[in-house]
Amino acid sequence: MGWAVCPIRFAKEGDRFFIGQSAVRRRPIISGADLAPSLSRGGPRQPPFLRCLPAAFPSPRRSCSAAMFVSDCRREFYDVIVSQRVLLLVASDVDALCACKILQALFQCDHVPYTLVPVSGWQELETAFLEHKDQFKYFVFINCGANVDLLEILQPEEDTVFFVCDSHRPINVVNVYNDTQIKLLVKQDDDLDVPAYDDIFRDDEDEEEDSENESDGSEPSEKRRRFEEDVIERTMKRRQRREWEARRREILFDYEQYEYHGTSSAMVMFDLAWMMSKDLNDMLWWAIVGLTDQWVQDKITQMKYVTDIGILQRHVSRHNHRNEDEENSLSIDCMRIAFEYDLRLALYQHWSLYESLCNTSYTSASLKLWSVQGQKRLQEFLADMGLPLKQVKQKFNSMDMSLKENLREMIEESASKFGMKDLRVQTFSIHFGFKNKFSASDIVYAAVSLMENVEKEGPEAANFIKALDSLSRGNLDKLHQGLNLAKKQLRAIHQTIASCICTNLVISQGPFLYCSLMEGTPDVKLFSKPVSLCLLSKYLLKSFVCSTKNKRCKLLPLIMAAPMDVEQGTVIMVGIPPETESSDKKNFFGRAFEKAADSTNSRTLHNHFDMSIIELKTEDRSKFLDALISLLS
């Protein structure tokens, strides 16, 4: 199966396509005929979201096969850039924000002059690179860039070096095997399964041998014999080459088929800080938030999460052991991190327990809170624990102390009676001053809702900066604003889920489930942003799996569509893997979307760093879905 033809994207007014080194302004695409120019564009440059295999098999600029992972982060990355100016290109997700904060703290400590540019997609990445390429030689990509061929897309100068710290997998093979310009800041023990060098790349020496043999000439009979031998040899070689090519395609297809996530970038950065002995409690907290973001967005498996929590717990006890000693404990104003086996309820300490129970996907799905019986079950659940409704509906901080004391154990006990065995989860919380106590997931929800704030019209970078600021302890007002927005977001998500399930909007299309939000749905503007839409889809799938009786449907993945921009008539579409107990969170929709788009000539835009999120024109939606159905059946 080859990926030779690339999906065609539509352009918005003022979009720039980069040919060679200069920007070209493109007119908007109105009909199918306008798409032809994109195909006739000359040159080897291709739009960034294309995942073509290299047409020939040129070896990247190396000859041996060791992968280009930075083994000593400190020596090969930090010491190189500490005397240089660096450009940081940071993706728009909380893990990237946390990694960025840690790196900024290190840079400020060592006076490394840097510039920070937020990027939310491939287009912005390219724009930022082109604007700054004359001024910087060293670029650091945080949570972007590992899964595409960076050299081909950005075409940097010979002496430019890219450092990529990205949790997206699989890492593009060209990035892995390039040793001069691309350095990957990735932990080696992540299950990477990179194909061996010789299986994918080979130098074209064989062609020359053939031509040499042909030009030899002497006596006719000998010549004919040699000619026959040559022919046989050449056909053998050609057949070997074809077999090799076929095997190569297969290997690469298997390698790049599924998308998943590796270790959080924030943890990698914290590791770097620790190796340099410059790690602080603040940086540790950011690493924790980065990991928790991966867990909240369901990007990593439960086992990986638990393993990483174990790693972080060692650091936490190293930094925060003084609190355990009653006599020598630190002042209440100092920041301290504590390991907690806490309830899984979203924002419960900043909300009322009742609201939190209603708006956490785990409890909402298990108790089926969209139905009347579900509400009754909730009441039974609360009664079982002996919590009066009046107490439970008021702010958590004002609940009676006697009720709050053994809350966690009480809830866990009752929850297992109601089929919720995993209501508690290992996590960390931060504590500074008398009033300020936050759990890691609180910070994640707050930062996500600040970043995807639709209430204010403004450039996206402003939201990014607000979210970045909210991670500092000095900006508590922004954090509280984020928490309020997060509450609104969670409420909106669960109301939408309730209406989708009650009105049976989730339909099975055969190989996958499909749900589409109509334009007039309340809060639909909130879901025009990728992370919010992903959260909605994941929670919807969880709830659907609990609500449906069809055993087959429980194992299907989900595709969710929501209107993105009403004027331009675009729709944002997200594909998420099926919800199973031991899911490995591997997502094949990235590839599937590309293939479907190109086979139907739909006008799609694969702008997000996660390939399973795309935008497409509303008119092309049905044929796109039909293509997907036939592709995946």
Binding site: Q108, E131, Q135, P459, A461
Partner: protein, 195 residues
């Protein structure tokens, strides 16, 4: 009424808050000076008359003299306060003032400003040894060599000491040497981020 225009000048200056420089009111100043001249002439006439017998004019002369003194005091206060503001501008903006502000200054004030600049420069040169000491920098004690700044509006390219240029775009964040940023922070292009 006598003295109104001069007081009006002072009032206007008093109203502009924040130490900014309002336009130089040449016309009002001229009118005030005109009034003073009229009063003086009247006084001159009356004094010669009073000397020759009419003692009841003495009170009027006294009154006019007080008006003259009042006008003089107001006008002097006006001019002096403007000079103090212009002096503060040198410390805030540096040696080149923005055009908008230069419009508001009279020719004499501009000359005064130039002489003040020269005087300050001569002093700074004499203070710091060989190179001189730029006293207008680091008005508050600096905490670090480099500061983190955020760009509040598109500025374009900006060159720093080692020759490299930085593109200042809205909402980008940079970590730059403090002395290069101070000017732009004062102008409102960059914002210092304290974390």
């Amino acid at each position: 009424m006598a003295g109104e225009r001069a007081v009006g000048l002072v009032r206007e200056l008093h109203r502009t808050i924040g130490g900014s420089l309002p336009p130089f009111r040449t016309e009002e100043l001229r009118q005030a000076l005109e009034e003073m001249r009229a009063l003086y002439e009247q006084n001159q006439a009356d004094v010669s008359e009073a000397k020759s017998g009419r003692t009841d004019l003495i009170f009027l002369i006294r009154f006019r003299h007080c008006c003259l003194l009042r006008n003089q005091r107001c006008i002097l206060a006006y001019l002096y306060d403007r000079l103090l503001r212009i002096r503060a501008l040198r410390w805030e903006y540096g040696s080149v003032l923005p055009n908008a502000i230069q419009f508001h200054m009279s020719a004499e004030e501009v000359e005064w400003f130039n002489r003040y600049k020269k005087s300050l420069a001569a002093y700074m040169k004499s203070v710091g040894g060989e190179e001189g000491l730029d006293l207008t920098q680091d008005i508050k004690p600096p905490k670090s060599l480099y500061i983190e700044v955020r760009c509040l509006r598109d500025y374009g390219e900006f060159e720093i000491d080692d020759g490299t240029t930085i593109l200042l775009k809205k909402n980008s964040q940079h970590f730059l040497p403090r002395w290069k940023c101070e000017q732009l922070i004062r102008q409102g292009v960059l914002e210092h981020i304290l974390s």
